[in-house]
Amino acid sequence: MSADIRAHVLDAALRAPRATQGRAPDVFREGGWVPMREHPNDEAVDFVIVGTGAGGGTLACRLAELGFSVIALDAGPFFRPLEDFASDETEQTKLYWLDHRIVDGANPITMGGKNSGKAVGGSTVHFAMVSLRFRPEWFRSRSALGYGADWPLDWHDMWRYYTRAEQALSISGPLTYPWGPKRPRYPYRPHELNAAALVLAQGAEAQGYRWTATPLATVSAPRGRSPPCVYRGFCRFGCATNAKQSALTVWIPRALKAGAEIRDLAMVGRIETDGRGLVTGVHYQRSGGWHFQAARNVVVAGYAIETPRLLLASTTQRFPQGLANSSGLVGKNLMTQSNQAVFGRMRREVRWYKGPPSLSISEHWNYEDRKDFFGGYCWMAQGPLPIEWVTVQTGARGLWGEPLRREMQYYNHQVGLKMVGEMLPDERNRVTLSDEKDQYGLPVARITYSWGENDKRLIEHALQQMQESLECAGVSHLFRQEDDTNHLAGTARMGFDAATSVVNSDCRSWDIPNLWVCDGSVFPTTGGVNPSLTIQAIALRTADRIKQLASRGELV
C-alpha cells in the first residue's frame, strides 16, 4: 500500500463510525466528544433524515429542537476539522462524493468538489460560503419573468426564513445590500477585501455596475467557539479554522444538543414501504453490514443526484417507477449552474490564494431584465489554488509542456471573474440508474446533461460582460474558461399539484404522505446565485410546517 494511501487510511473518521456509544465528535475540540442520544433500530423514530448537509442538517436540528425524535444518517465521515483537515487540495478530496457515477450528454457535468459532499455536514463542509438570497421574482419565474416554473412558495415568507438562516449562520455581509428588497442587517460585518476582490470592484465601477462585499458564512469576528477567519484560502477544501459556519459547525452541534442522533458512515440504500403505501424506514449499510431503521417519516436530503437515485432505487410492486414518482419527474429537470470564467494577468502582485475566494460580487445581471435571454447571473472574484488553477490552464487552454509551466509562473499575478448563472429546467437533463453497481452493490447514477440554447446565450453574455469588466480594470492576457459548472438542483421539484411536481410547498411527497424531500432537488428553477442559503431557508420553513401539521394531527 502506498504512503499516500496510508495517510488516507490513517484518517480515523473514514475508518470507522465515530458517532456511536452515546457520543458524537465535538467539532470544536481535537479528540473531543459531546453526548448523543441514541435509538435502537426497531424504534420507529419520528423522522429519519437521509443526509446531513444544508437541507438535512438544518432540518435535523430544527425538528429535534421542536421536540421530534430524529435520526440523521450520512454516508460520509464525521470530521473534526481541527484535527482532520490538512491544508491540501488533494488530501481534502476526501470531503467530496467520489463514489462512482457516469456522466454523459452533450455537456457532461464534472462531478466532485463543486457539486457534492460526502461528510456529516454535506457539501457545506467545503462550500465557498457564498450566502445569497434569491431575487423575489424567481419564486414566480414563470408568471413574472416568462420562463421555468413557479415555486409554490411566497417570497415574503422566504424573506423571513432567509433572515433566520442568516442569523443562525452569523453571515458576514455588507451593512446594506445593493440589490433587491430591503433585508435586515447581516449579523456580522463584511470581510476585508483581498486584491482579487478589489479588481472586481474596479471593473464594476468602470462599467457603472454596483458591487459589494459578498455575504459569506465565515465569521469576521469571534462567534462562540468559532475564531474569526484567518484568510488561509483553503475554504473549498474544508475550513481547518472552524470560522466557516457550515452545517457541521452550526446545525449538527445544535441538533445533537437537542437530542438528535447522527449516524456517520451510514449509507442508505433503500427506503422501505408497507402495504398501505407508506414508508416504514430505511435500509442502510454501516460498519460492513446492512441494517433497517424504523421510522414514522423519512426525509430524503441527499442532494440532486443521490436523492433521485435513492427514490428510483426503492421500487416496489406498488411503486414500480420508484417512490414519489407518479408524475415521472423524479430525476428529471436536473439543473446545474453555469460557472464560466474570464481570467487574466496584472503587473501588480495579487496573490489570490489569500482569503475566501469570492470576497466581492456583482449581481447586476440578476436584477437587470433588459437582455435577450431568460434567467440571470452574478459574478464573483476568484482565488483558485494551484491544482485548480492548473486544471483551468489544461482544461480551458489545453496547455502542457513548457508553455504550461511558463504560464503557471504568473500564478501570483493572476485574477479572474467567475459567474454563477441560471440554467433552465429541461426534462431531458436527468438522473437515471445505470446497470453498473457501486461498492455498496447499489445501482450507479447516470447523469445526463446538455446545455440549451438559452443557457448558451446567457453564458456568452456573461463571458463578454466579465471580459469587459476585467479590461476596464486594466487586466491583460485575458482568456476564457468556457465549460465549467457548479451546484445542482431540480430532480424532485416542488410544485402546485401531483401531476407536475414531486413534492408540495412543505417538501412533502404528493404520493406518500410520510415521505419528504429536503434539499436542492426541490428547486423548480435554480436562479443566478449559489443555492445553499435558499436550501437552508426552505429547511427552516419545512421544520415549522411539520410542527404545524403535527399539532393539527396531519402527520401520518
Binding site: 455588507p174 460585518r189 477585501l193 470592484a201 469576521s220 469571534p222 475564531p227 484567518v230 470560522a243
Partner: protein, 311 residues
C-alpha cells in the same frame, strides 16, 4: 519595509510603550500632596505630561503594529513612530521635571507631534478616498483609521498645554491661548474622548459588537465627555464631582480594555502562539488606554478649574 523592522524591534517598542504607560499613569498622589503650594501649576503640568505621554505610548505601539501590518510601504509611515517616541520621551522628561518654566525642546516636540498628527490625518483621509469605493463602510472598516493620527496630534496638544500651564507666573491663573486653562483643557479632553469613542464605535461595529462589553467604550466615555464639556460652560463643584467620577471610570475602562483586547487576541485561531497573525488581525491591545490618557487630562482640567475658577 518589514525587512528593516524585525520582530525583536517591534517587541521592544511594545515593551517601551507598556513601560511608558505604566510609568505615566501610575498615581503620584503623594508627590502632588508634598509639593509646595506655590508649585501647584507645576504639579498640574506634570500630570498633563503624564497624560500626553500615555497617549503617545498608545500611539507609538498602535502605529508600530498597524504600520508594520502595512509593511511600511510608504517611508512616511515611520513618522508617527518617531514623533510618538519623541513625545513619549519628552513627556517622561516633563513628568520628572520640577521646574516652573516651559522647556524649549519639549515645546518643539509637542509642536512636531501636532503637525505630524495633522498630516497623518490628511494622509489617512486621502488614503481612504482614493480606494475603490471611497468613503464606504468597507473602507472605513479596513483602510487607514482616521482617528489614529489625531491621537498623536492630541498628545502633542496636551504636551503643549502642559508647557503653557507650567509657564504660569506665580500667583496668576494658568491660561491657554488666552482662555482659562481648566476650561480649555476640559474642552480639548472632551473632544478627544468623543473622537476616541467614535473610533471605538466604528471598529466595534466592524466586530459586530459580538461581545456585550464592546458597548462599554461607546457608552461610558461620551457621558464623561459630555459632562466634561458641560464644565466648560458651567464649572460648578457639584458637576465637577460627577464628572470626576465618570472620568475615573473612563480611565479604568481604558486599562480594562487592554485586558479585553488581549482576550480577543487569544480567541484568534492558534491563540497567542499564533501571535504573528492574531496581534495584527485581532483587536489592537494598545488602543484602549487612549481613553485612560484623555481621562487623565480631563481630571487635570477639573483640578485646574477647582483651583482657579471656584464658584
Amino acid at each position: 519595509m518589514s525587512k528593516n523592522l524585525s520582530w525583536e524591534a517591534l517587541a521592544g517598542l511594545a515593551v517601551l510603550g507598556a513601560v511608558g504607560v505604566a510609568a505615566l499613569a501610575a498615581p503620584r498622589r503623594r508627590a502632588a500632596r508634598a509639593a509646595p503650594t506655590g508649585a501647584q501649576t507645576v504639579v498640574v503640568a506634570r500630570r498633563l505630561n503624564r497624560a500626553a505621554g500615555t497617549l503617545a505610548a498608545c500611539v507609538l505601539t498602535d502605529s508600530a503594529v498597524e504600520h508594520y501590518r502595512g509593511s511600511f510601504h510608504n517611508k512616511s509611515m515611520y513618522a508617527p513612530l518617531a514623533s510618538a517616541t519623541l513625545n513619549l520621551a519628552s513627556s517622561l522628561h516633563g513628568t520628572a521635571d520640577p521646574r516652573a518654566a516651559a522647556h524649549y525642546g519639549r515645546n518643539t516636540i509637542s509642536a512636531i507631534a501636532v503637525v505630524t498628527g495633522l498630516i497623518g490625518t490628511a494622509f489617512h483621509l486621502y488614503n481612504i478616498g482614493k480606494r475603490t469605493g471611497g468613503f464606504s463602510w468597507q473602507n472605513l472598516f479596513y483602510a487607514a483609521p482616521i482617528g489614529a493620527p489625531a491621537a498623536l496630534g492630541l498628545s502633542g496638544v496636551l504636551g503643549a498645554a502642559a508647557e503653557r500651564v507650567r509657564n504660569t507666573p506665580p500667583g496668576a491663573a494658568p491660561r491657554i491661548l488666552g482662555a482659562p486653562a481648566g476650561r480649555m483643557l476640559a474642552a480639548i479632553s472632551s473632544i478627544g474622548l468623543f473622537g476616541s469613542m467614535g473610533e471605538a464605535a466604528l471598529l466595534h461595529l466592524r466586530g459586530a459588537y459580538h461581545n456585550p462589553f464592546m458597548w462599554a467604550p461607546v457608552g461610558l466615555p461620551p457621558i464623561a465627555a459630555t459632562l466634561l464639556a458641560a464644565t466648560v460652560v458651567a464649572p460648578t463643584p457639584r458637576l465637577r464631582a460627577v464628572t470626576k467620577a465618570s472620568l475615573n471610570l473612563t480611565a479604568l475602562l481604558g486599562f480594562l480594555g487592554m485586558g479585553f483586547h488581549s482576550y480577543g487576541v487569544s480567541r484568534g485561531m492558534g491563540g497567542w502562539s499564533n501571535w504573528g497573525q492574531n496581534l495584527l488581525n485581532g483587536p489592537p491591545i494598545p488602543a484602549p488606554p487612549a481613553f485612560t490618557a484623555l481621562a487623565l487630562a480631563g481630571l487635570t482640567a477639573l483640578e485646574l478649574q477647582a483651583a482657579h475658577h471656584e464658584r
